[in-house]
């Protein structure tokens, strides 16, 4: 097996190059096909010369609009979601010592979506706009996380057993989805209902430069914190006692990282809705590729790989069925659910 593992050192440049290529290529796909060279030139012009050539009329204004204001925010949105969900998955797997943990399966995404729905559909007087939605999503995510963790702990007799964790995740997922559905049922305005509906399926369609701010902030913060803490994530992956003996304040670390996870998930879900299985699949694929579980390698690689994966999934979502756009959550579920099944079977055969 060892020879098969691609050296992780090589994976960094390869995955980075692939991500850049993916961004350029995916921007060029769409109902108005634009060749990849033009995409590159328009983007390079915008980034390095603040749009001098666009202003000079080197290409059609509409081309610039499509590339810079419609497709690029969406692709960058995909980058944030892919990277954010993947590092959350990797982090949660370490925090609960379970290879099948991820935001969707543990009900954290549903919690965030219930919170966001509450913010959108009920006329509460405080905060406003997107920040309010995100703040409520955060509360929902934290609540879900807390419930799942406590239930799993109680169910497993003080120790978190994989089965107890999955069951409590399922239970919380069901309750949170029911809360969201109930809120839709109670809502009066059809627009908000359709908005909430969109979330439950997950989609990047609402991407604009202005809506990109929160997810970008959430993901960037998450990446920075998690990368800095990657050593401690390794310690906790060996077990609580061991990590404590290695000098880690286990309870505090787990609590803080849970909050960061919830923050990332909330910043994403409050805009995109539930996109499942990304956080499950990506870290495992990266572990297989790199041949290690060390988070110093897995966390950054998951971010890179997850970003590429999600923008391709989104490209498929918006081009497979012509003008009718497929919700992204459907695609990630179709790809991710069999993977989940594969993980369970492999686990039973021994080995994680």
């Amino acid at each position: 097996m060892k020879g098969k593992h691609i050296r992780s050192g090589l994976l960094f440049p390869v995955l980075t190059a692939f991500l850049i290529f993916s961004i350029l290529y995916v921007v060029s796909i769409g109902t108005t096909p634009i060749d990849i060279k033009t995409v590159y030139r328009v983007m390079a012009d915008q980034i390095f010369f603040s749009g001098a050539q666009t202003a000079a009329g080197a290409w059609d204004k509409s081309i610039y609009q499509i590339i810079w204001n419609i497709r690029l925010p969406r692709v960058l949105f995909g980058v944030c979601c892919g990277a954010g969900l993947s590092i959350c998955g990797a982090a949660m797997q370490a925090l609960v010592l379970n290879p099948v943990a991820e935001p969707y399966i543990l009900g954290v995404s549903s919690g965030a979506s219930a919170g966001a729905a509450l913010a959108l559909l009920t006329p509460l007087p405080f905060f406003s706009g997107q920040y309010r939605t995100t703040a409520f999503a955060l509360l929902g995510a934290l609540l879900a996380f807390f419930c799942v963790y406590r239930m799993a702990k109680a169910g497993g007799g003080g120790k978190i057993q994989p089965v107890a964790l999955l069951l409590s995740g399922t239970a919380v997922n069901a309750v949170m989805s029911a809360v969201t559905s109930f809120l839709i049922f109670m809502a009066k305005s059809p627009e908000s209902i359709s908005a909430v509906y969109n979330w439950q399926m997950g989609s990047l369609a609402s991407a604009q430069w202005s809506s990109l701010r929160i997810p970008a902030l959430g993901t960037a913060l998450g990446c920075i914190v998690f990368f800095c803490q990657s050593g401690n994530f390794n310690l906790i992956m060996i077990g609580d006692d061991d990590a404590a003996a290695m000098g880690l304040h286990v309870k505090r670390f787990r609590g803080m990282m849970f909050i960061i996870c919830a923050l990332i998930v909330a910043s994403l879900v409050s805009v995109t809705g539930i996109i499942g299985f990304v956080g499950l699949m990506v870290p495992h694929m990266v572990r297989l590729l790199a041949g290690t579980s060390s988070n110093r390698i897995i966390l950054p690689l998951s971010a890179l790989f997850g970003a590429s994966y999600l923008i391709w999934a989104d490209a498929a979502a918006r081009s497979l069925f012509g003008p009718a756009e497929l919700p992204l959550g459907i695609i990630t579920a179709f790809v991710g659910a069999p993977f989940f099944f594969y993980l369970m079977i492999r686990k039973n055969r021994g080995g994680a």
Binding site: P99, I238, D240, D241, A245, G351, A352
Partner: protein
């Protein structure tokens, strides 16, 4: 003689259930101190109070005469190495990854990490595990890897919770001889009374969360204690070379 670790009147438990009632245990510097006792007597719990895994409800712990509270967790990790009871690992790490974790919270030295890891492996004679995944090793082999990690930590005190579990007889003796030779302060939770009698300088016998007896093995592993605490008949005897052994009657 100086005391490296001193547990003073420790009282603790999980939730409402009290596991330890007023336990005092001392480990002398450079000696091997063993904690023996039946299952559920609170041995592992006592050891876990050192790392804040189980918080003390009352009592105090002193390291080299200084209150544990005055050390940061990282300082404690630099002073004490720990080899836990459970060495199963859910995720796939290489042996070097595991041992390398010892260095995360250590101060940098002139010696590169790779070299420190290699030296620790060499010391425990496990260089052959190099590059292997921890998951492909047996329970006993994993134990040696975790001991290598404690060695790499460079701590002058090592605490081991049932170190001979899962080890074949050759490796049990290898490991304990290694500890004896190392000259470090060793605190062991140990089930095997023969090994305890032979290797430990001091023993603490625990029963139902209390120290029932303590002192040199001859004073602790008496026929009376064997009967009362373990429900067996046994006594210390001496091997031809004058070292201690514990003889049991297999009835």
């Amino acid at each position: 003689m100086t005391t490296a670790i001193e547990f003073q009147n420790i009282q603790t438990g999980y939730g409402k259930k009290e596991i330890l009632h007023n336990v005092s245990v001392q480990a002398e510097r450079g000696k091997i101190t063993g904690i023996v006792g039946p299952n559920g007597s609170g041995k592992s719990t006592l050891v876990k109070t050192l790392f804040g895994i189980v918080p003390c409800k009352s009592g105090a712990i002193f390291l080299d005469g200084k209150n544990l509270q005055s050390f940061s967790r990282k300082d404690v990790a630099r002073k004490l190495g720990y080899v836990g009871q459970d060495t199963s690992v859910v995720f796939d790490f290489s042996v070097e990854d595991i041992i390398g974790m010892a260095l995360y919270h250590q101060k940098k030295t002139d010696l590169p990490s790779k070299e420190r890891i290699r030296l620790a492996m060499e010391e425990l004679n496990i260089l052959e595990f190099s590059g292997r995944s921890i998951q492909t090793l047996s329970g006993g082999e994993r134990k040696l890897v975790f001991l290598a990690r404690a060695v790499a930590q460079g701590a002058d005190t090592i605490i081991l919770d049932e170190p001979t579990n899962h080890l074949d007889i050759y490796h049990q003796i290898f490991l304990l001889n290694y500890l004896k030779r190392s000259g470090k302060t060793i605190l062991l939770v140990i089930h095997d009374l023969r090994l305890a009698a032979h290797y430990c300088d001091h023993l603490f016998l625990m029963q139902d969360g209390r120290v029932a007896s303590s002192g040199i093995p001859e004073h602790v592993l008496t026929p009376k204690n064997a009967k009362q605490v373990f429900g067996i008949s046994g006594k210390i005897s001496y091997l031809p070379d004058g070292t201690r052994d514990f003889c049991m009657d297999f009835q």
